[in-house]
Symmetry: C2
């Protein structure tokens, strides 16, 4: 069979220059999250196909790379459908594996459990610029913490990390699934239409209020209900006063528990008062977040440099219970690792505090006994924290040094056989 | 479908305690290899199935996890064999992907190119203790360096890393494929029986000289040839004098180029003179290394604590040419990452210089305004390099503190709503 030079469709090779930025960002992420008490865990990249097909994964379940059964288990002759051929698949996110991990290991885990996962996931999406079929996700989750301390810690940990990497002037948009439900109820939309309403509301930033109104009416909602619904989004003032006004109105109509307002306000004020990066907390009642498993607070990172979201998360108190039968309060925040890297690369980001890079060029036939001295010297420089390349001198030394300079080598030493 | 709590057969969840050791070891590896001028790269976990079926991978090619074609490409009705269903597979090592990476990107890479890869590979081996179907490999390779500077740098980089992790009194066993060939030729074994002879020689540590003699004779080699062959292994003295004696004998008979001896001696003496860890270079003429693609020097790490090899490598100057048609001199060294981790965990290894761990226990209904002060305080401790867990106080506070102590929390602060 022919040798294929290119990576598999939709996936990419990562070259040294990008790897350096990725490694640096990963280290900042790990170090910062650890200081908040998150502990790294890892799960296999493969999951049982039935875990991946639980409906918790929404649209992502259509994008699974499936693994062929092996050996005796594979009965090609009698196979009638895909399911007969497949027992495992590559994970499409880190949340389903986390739920499985927690149910498999909870006896050996503290409560609350603060998990950090950095790992690749795979989705057979249509390939497009900047989106790959293998990409890294970076999730923190707190399992077993019912109070909003989870939200506060997740938002502070994530924003502190982003600040350390060098991002500023971004926003954390926040909303509550229960507010979304209450708004729909307040406007007279029936319970079972909630998902449909959310899908339309989610388009607000693209099609505007008028577009949303149009689509809602097309779905058969009355003009009056739609007007009542859209009027709810007319809010002015500070983030805190917006939350207060909307929640008070919904609570007064008996559509929302009082507790939602105070909890959301507590999150916003605590984060604002203690934040360690330059960003703003913004209440955004149009924020929906795609995944159906969210039950409470939802949030998203919005970067001025970047159109879409650079990460997000929320509370999903029912998901682990859907898998295992026992509900566990859970809340998570995922950084859009690949988008962060893309932004940094496009802005010409340079990794700070790099070691000094020195190249030793050694002439061909340099005597063995003297070579030891050169290597010894390299060893001492390396011990002192420098990066030393020991390499043969090329015939075209000038060109060789030019290429090494481009790679960041600042100092050259030459060793001749004389 | 039912939810499966266990990881996929033969794979494992990695819990915080092990992850801490893995992360530490990975950091030491990356830092040390970088100081030697190796640059990290990454390739997708999936490769085109034809690249994985090139015969370069030996037995591993039988252990591939294959990925089902997707969408229109999958024609189950007309599929007659596995190949009709599959276009990609999970990589079984990092060497085949490196060869593809190099041929795809060589225009943008320096020469020589010193690559560091740390990544998962998958093999559908029979599951057994300590061996998993997903495991991490950690490879360094130098591409484009024909001289033994490559071997010297690879062995020094790897042993310096092992030393920094804390290993000592290990051995680097070294041999040369060309010596293996010359020994066979010297004994009168014909060229085409070389692979068979190597497979039998490889069993020396298990079945001893007598066992090897028996198996060779069973294969039809004459008693005289077998005796001549085995006599070659009777060597005494230092590593250097063993190399000299054997090579001189083989060269005198016209079976070995003179150059092999001087090159091997240069590697051994240079490494011994400049090494930064406690280990010995040992010449082992019975060392074979499984993979058929090696063309010159081969080496292996032998740990006193561990029966088998903890890593190895060698020169494979023809492999990239077999893929691409253009030979590129290449030499690599792979650390048995999972074995190293297993050894460390079994010896009760503790990660050095851990941050101080403090837990803040906050009573339920602690007032929001005072909570800000607590979080602020946590932020300052985190900035000062400490690891601070902010969590709700449980009803059974004593039990909670016991569990946290077991996780390494040394200091507790309690915040009451009074």
């Amino acid at each position: 069979m022919a040798f294929v030079k290119k990576p598999v469709t939709g996936m990419k090779d990562i070259l040294p220059e990008e790897m350096q930025v990725r490694d640096y960002v990963q280290n900042v992420i790990k170090e910062t999250y650890r200081s908040f008490g998150f502990t790294p865990i890892e799960t296999p990249c493969m999951e049982n196909i039935s875990n991946l097909s639980s409906k918790q994964g929404g649209e992502n379940e259509k994008l699974i790379f499936k693994i062929l059964k092996r050996g005796e288990k594979l009965k090609l002759e009698t196979a009638e459908c895909e399911a007969d051929l497949v027992d495992n698949g590559l994970r499409y996110d880190l949340t389903v594996p986390l739920a499985r991990f927690y149910s498999n290991n909870s006896n050996n885990l503290p409560s609350p459990f603060k998990a950090l996962q950095i790992g690749n996931v795979w989705r057979a999406d249509r390939p497009q610029r900047g989106r790959y079929r293998q990409f890294m996700q970076c999730d923190i989750d707190i399992l077993g913490e019912p109070s909003n301390l989870a939200e506060i810690e997740l938002i502070l940990a994530t924003t502190t990390t982003l600040g350390k990497i060098g991002f500023k002037n971004f926003e954390i948009r926040i909303n509550e699934r229960r507010i979304l439900r209450a708004m729909a109820k307040y406007s007279g939309f029936s319970e079972e239409t909630f998902d449909k309403v959310c899908i339309i509301l989610d388009k607000m930033d693209k099609i505007g209020q008028e577009g949303v109104a149009e689509e809602l009416q097309k779905e058969g909602f009355s003009e009056e209900s739609v007007k009542k619904y859209l009027d709810l989004f007319e809010l002015t003032g500070s983030t805190e006063s917006k939350i207060e006004k909307l929640c008070d109105k919904l609570s007064a109509a008996g559509c929302l528990e009082e507790e939602v307002k105070s909890s959301l306000l507590e999150i916003v004020t605590s984060v604002e008062a203690t934040k360690a990066a330059e960003f703003k907390m913004v209440f955004d009642p149009t924020l929906v977040r795609g995944m159906g498993y969210y039950t409470g607070t939802i949030f998203e990172i919005a970067m001025p440099e970047f159109g879409g979201s650079c990460g997000g998360g929320g509370r999903y108190d029912k998901m682990i219970g859907n898998f295992t039968g026992n509900d566990v309060p859970a809340c998570g925040f995922s950084i859009g690792f690949e988008r962060i890297i893309l932004l940094l690369l496009e802005s010409g980001f340079k990794v700070p505090t790099q070691p000094k890079k020195i190249a030793y060029l050694i002439e061909k036939n340099y005597p063995a006994d003297k070579l030891c001295e050169v290597i010894q010297k390299a060893g001492e420089e390396r011990k002192a924290g420098k990066q030393v390349l020991v390499t043969r001198m090329n015939k075209n030394k000038k060109f060789q040094k030019e290429k090494l300079s481009a790679e960041g080598y600042e100092e050259f030493e030459e060793f001749f056989n004389r």
